[in-house]
Symmetry: D2
Subunit: 394 residues, 4 copies
């Protein structure tokens, strides 16, 4: 990253897997509202003055499309979100054209189905991407997975390398979870890929090998928007002050479709693992405490987290800290999806390939290159992000 | 800071203004307990592995003395603190010799008194310092103000430069507040100086001029141990995520002698100003909300802070965060006093003079050189501290 | 209360002092919405099955009017409240006719003005009331003060008895605060009176004498809707379990017009006194702690209270409880205003006169007859209310 | 209960199942300390002035004994409790004689063991009780189960009536869980019985039949000391104000031996069921939310509960309340155990038999007579308790 070429003024495709979900709908509607200056860019990291000279693609240069297995129109989803308080009702009319445009670019999603070998399914998905890029003459397409969380994947020999994977895909129907198949298709279609969900996605070794072969940048996983965001701001405080955290317990209450998904023990396992690992990385092993995710339908899109931290100070003094975080789920996630599309597109413009560690700021469980250790501390992550896009090497 | 000379194995004096207070007593007792390995170094930043190679003076190289206007024996104060839960009763016997030794080095404190010109008072204080250094053959003495909080000082023409100040002190009795007189005496006695309290202390321009003349390092002010500690960990999270903080309100409940002092509106003003300024530096102007400090005698040394933060996210979504911090006041402050003595002594060994900005990590209201802006973000402050003592210039 | 006559089917007037305020507007709009079955009767005590046989006037039998010094149309106020989240925007159209009808019955409010003797002002206010009753052929009118909070009143000799008061009013302009003048006018116009505000209102002895003379029922003061509501539910728990409360501290954050009024130390004094007295009545004297009311404009109609309770248990064990209450101010108050109109009207139908102690459930600072002690415990108050309206003597 | 005979001055036996546990040890030590006036009677309901004339046996009339499967000396347990903050270390010496005396009256506990028919085991337990009563010439013995929580019991035909039960016990080893066998033995030995734990205990129909046959009073179950205590104070506030609770979620963090027991899903099931049922009784069905009990060993005897309540007010306004309760587990429970012994002994003196519903104030899951409904509201329960012991029939 020695030079910073002037970014091309042309347009970037943002292809959302789960394009009809709450996060996706909020992102598409919000991008239109902010681009039209009907709302300030609150929540958008890319709009901070820190990145004014980073050459990020402008918000109005983004073109949206995606895959979804559901077919509720985006305008209907937007109305539902307005009812829950996520989207200001007054904005609905203004963003309808943008929603309709994106709606016309949403193609049927993929679900593991017996019979159909995954190679064929992947080919169809990759064609959708290429067609989108061609029709809109996009300089590149960034694929972002914001679909429902999938359970952790069972290791399979064919996941280990690309050759084995493609051999298996040629005949088998269920070798990859859906999210990983989307990642495969993205890479094959020459697109940068990003997992905003905790799903296995691109983490499978064979897919990372494919990204290397293709020279494509990718990032993930699991957008850091609530409890974990706060944890990564607070945990270093204890560590750097030599305070000994004895236990860190958390309870998350959430309604909404994502809450329902996470209520299944399987899917929660993905989320829980990514939450816990960061805590240990920052505080060392031996921190007691559980993290609960409760589905409380009547809370809708409002996500409430309570965390209790018991710690020891000088001469064993027992102290506690508690926090409660009350946030609108998709309002927290959507601007980050837009940020990530812009930061990842820009990284590709600058020639970056492989795991984009400078994006760790956005993720609960940052993907990294083999051998490097993960920085979970939020503020340190921000400094990495800032300096990377200021043109300095990391 | 181009070279890192091997630190001398000799001993460092730690002279505490307010040596019989809760913080001082806990620091002296705790230093003995940790040096004797009766307690782990929890809460001591200097003992983190980050500073293993920084050449900080070892804990058992510190020799304690001080000034106080009160004459309760340290062992009695330690018993009282054991009763409130700050000092483990089981440690009392083991630390009694150390407390007795320090007790023998506490000299009568100074109180503004009509009649006596401050030059004379300062001379006596400076003599106490020199005598302490000589008798114990200390390589240097660090003076740390942990006395009761004093109100903000009214500007006075004689505060503006050293010549005017010394002219006025020669005849006047009340030109400097007590804490500032101690700072003057420290500098005149060739000691590094540090304000752990929010009192005016060394901030007076004429005193900073004197420090420059003497080539002495100094730092302050107001140890960051509770609500503000958390605020400086959390506020950057909002800023870096482009979340708009609308209000940040706080209520602090404290008993203890320090609580009683802060209950006076005057002294609280010192504390409040230092708390508020940091918030604005991190979040910009226009953040609504008050910060209360309530004296609740029955809470003793337990300090409880509740903070409420209302913020806006994407498309104006209204969200809130709250935290409660429940900590033992002196258990939080005492290890930092020991840390600061060691970091400041080491800085002097390395030839540093003037305001030691790398110590900002420890303070609510970090002293800085003219022209430099204050870094309030806790984690960024830690990185500054770490890299400074790793030998690299900041 | 020996017999329970069938309640007349005719209509009851509800005359609101401060009829254009948030509470009044929400009450008028909400009464219409619930009467039309567009919203469930959530928050309405009178609609509990406990009172199904109490003969309370039905909601659709209430006719609204009032005084206000402001002249913003009610429909405009309703739109503002819809913007803050108090009124569901979808209801606005449906309640417009009801708002317009009430608007036509709002007369100019009274403000203390030099020159005009209060007797004349009172006569005008009483005429407004009588005219309202006559034009709508109401069986009775209940006057409820929901105007801005007024400061505590300075005792004045003329407040002591009715004769002295009327003599003074004949010539003086400022003998009574506005809220008390409204109460005087109400009583003179043969109306039951109720103070929902913490203002002095009917508490002045001469006014209570007038109520006795007229044989009219009255009640107050200061609707119990948030922090105090919770306190009166919780404090008896500590008392009845013999737990010793050492301190009870509270911080209230509120925006809205009422928040601005209470930000003045004078008005806050009214509110604070009523809050503190109940705590002492339930827990005994000697409970430490302050209660803050902070005006935080950006919080709008959302009222947030944090309370911290430190208590001692068996063998001195130190324990704490904290709560946070986040409620919409006028949504909490408005249904109680409607309840009180109905309960007070019914009491008059049953022949009750003087202070209506059975309504203490609704108030922070319940008015009582000389000699009786105040029951502050919420659940005990509910049982009193229930049994009174079940027809049994209290 | 028409007359209130002067209570006999003689002594009452308190036989604790689980006599070496935290609750039991704290109760025995505390009874001695308070009787000797070394500590005030904080936490003791029986010492409230409300019960000054109720004829309750005085604290110094209680004589302690019990069963336990463990054999750690009580003085050792007391030292451990002093280390965790439950017992003031300064009291230890003073209560040692009382602990030693009780220790001498603790007999080996019963554990279900293959081979031994339960009739024989019960006979041994009953003999222990009779011997205790005889040796100390006690007017009566009250048996209180404070042993570790047992899982819910699987229904068994022999539980349905006494004849079937005794037939089965004559030959079978595992027909009753341990706690129920203790209850059987208590009743057979002519002792009133009380379950302070959530274990099945006396709830088995055949045992209730036996109590009727014997004419003995009994009560239970599960002492109400923390989260549920607060819930039963708060939930009626929502109900009586017609506020609609949408969800009530809770997380409990506890260390200590009891915490470890409850960590097993089986035992937690007992506790959870008793917690949930009360909420529904007070608020109606359809309240969403889960209650977690997390074992966090490092928290020791400190029990922390966080509850989050989402409710709706007028016109659907969404509001929330949260509370955090931080209490010392055994300090909360122990005085209630002493209270219950005295209240139950007194009830027997007054001739009461069967389930003592007036003691519902103390329990999460109050035992009641067939056909009567449970009062869960804390303050209403207190009024029942007060009036019952004031001599009036309930
Ligand atoms: N909201 C946050 O703060 C946050 C933070 C981090 C991660 N996430 C993750 O973002 C994802 C989206 O969250 P949401 O609230 O929008 O959820 P959502 O349930 O509203 O939307 C998910 C969408 O994915 C679609 N989908 C499901 N399976 C699919 C498939 N195989 N192919 C294509 N589409 C499919 C669904 O039809 C739905 O439209 C979740 O995985 C969530 O865990 C959200
Ligand atoms: N505890 C914390 O977390 C914390 C954090 C930041 C700053 N501080 C500051 O540290 C200081 C000490 O706190 P503490 O809790 O030990 O208070 P303390 O009241 O227990 O001790 C203060 C001591 O200063 C002495 N003193 C007062 N005036 C003096 C004078 N003129 N000369 C010499 N001695 C004098 C007093 O006699 C007393 O012994 C306070 O200013 C406090 O604001 C404490
Ligand atoms: N909202 C609650 O939960 C709650 C609880 C208890 C008591 N209260 C009390 O209810 C009252 C109303 O609260 P609000 O939020 O509606 O306030 P608001 O400021 O919205 O309304 C007050 C109204 O009173 C009018 N007014 C002021 N002086 C007047 C006068 N002399 N004559 C006639 N009208 C006058 C104002 O013009 C305004 O329309 C306040 O006193 C408040 O303290 C409210
Ligand atoms: N602490 C509270 O606030 C509270 C509230 C309600 C109920 N409880 C209940 O009180 C009980 C005691 O709590 P604790 O904290 O003292 O627990 P603990 O584990 O300290 O004590 C339990 C005691 O029971 C003994 N025991 C186990 N099985 C036995 C058997 N079969 N026969 C005789 N003794 C046996 C154990 O050896 C131990 O000494 C628990 O069931 C708990 O759920 C406690
Ligand atoms: Na909220
Ligand atoms: Na605590």
């Amino acid at each position: 990253m020695t030079s910073t070429p002037t970014p091309p003024a042309d347009r970037i495709g943002v292809w959302l897997i789960g394009a009809r979900g709450s996060v996706a709908t909020t992102a598409i509607a919000g991008a239109a509202a902010v681009a039209a200056r009907l709302a300030p860019p609150t929540g958008m990291v890319a709009e901070l003055t820190d990145f004014a000279d980073s050459g990020l693609p402008a918000l109005d240069r983004l073109v949206f499309g995606g895959h979804d297995t559901d077919d509720t129109p985006l305008t209907k989803r937007a109305e539902q979100l307005a009812g829950t308080g996520i989207l200001p009702p007054a904005l609905l009319a203004a963003v309808t054209p943008a929603l309709d445009a994106a709606d016309g670019e949403i193609r049927p999603g993929y679900r593991t189905a017996p019979g159909l070998p995954q190679a064929a399914a992947a080919a169809r998905l990759a064609t959708d991407l290429a067609s989108f890029r061609d029709r809109h003459r996009l300089s590149q397409v960034v694929v972002i997975n914001v679909a429902s969380t999938e359970p952790p994947v069972h290791p399979h020999p064919a996941h280990r390398d690309l050759a084995a994977l493609e051999a298996a895909m040629a005949t088998e129907a269920g070798i990859l979870p859906a999210g990983s198949l989307y990642a495969y298709a993205a890479l094959r279609a020459d697109c940068a890929h990003l997992d905003f969900t905790p799903s296995p996605g691109i983490r499978i070794p064979a897919l990372r090998e494919l990204a290397d072969v293709q020279g494509l940048p990718y990032a993930g996983s699991d957008g850091k928007t609530g409890e974990t965001l706060v944890r990564t701001a607070l945990a270093p405080m204890f560590a750097h002050r030599a305070l000994r955290v004895r236990s860190w317990s958390g309870t998350n209450l959430l309604g909404g479709a994502d809450g329902a998904t996470l209520a299944s023990p399987d899917a929660a396992a993905s989320k829980n693992a990514s939450k816990r690992s960061g805590l240990e990385a920052m505080l060392g092993a031996g921190v007691e405490g559980l993290t609960h995710i409760d589905y409380v339908p009547s809370m809708g899109e409002m996500k409430t987290a309570w965390d209790h931290i018991a710690f020891e100070g000088f001469l064993g003094a027992a102290m506690t800290m508690q926090f409660t975080w009350q946030g609108w789920d998709s309002a927290l996630a959507a601007p980050l999806v837009l940020d990530l599309a812009r930061f990842l597109a820009r990284a590709r413009q600058l020639g970056a390939a492989g795991p984009q560690e400078q994006l760790g700021f956005f993720f609960k469980d940052p993907l990294r290159a083999g051998g490097s250790t993960t920085e979970h501390r939020l503020i340190a992550q921000f400094e990495v992000l800032r300096s990377w896009y200021a043109g300095g090497p990391q």
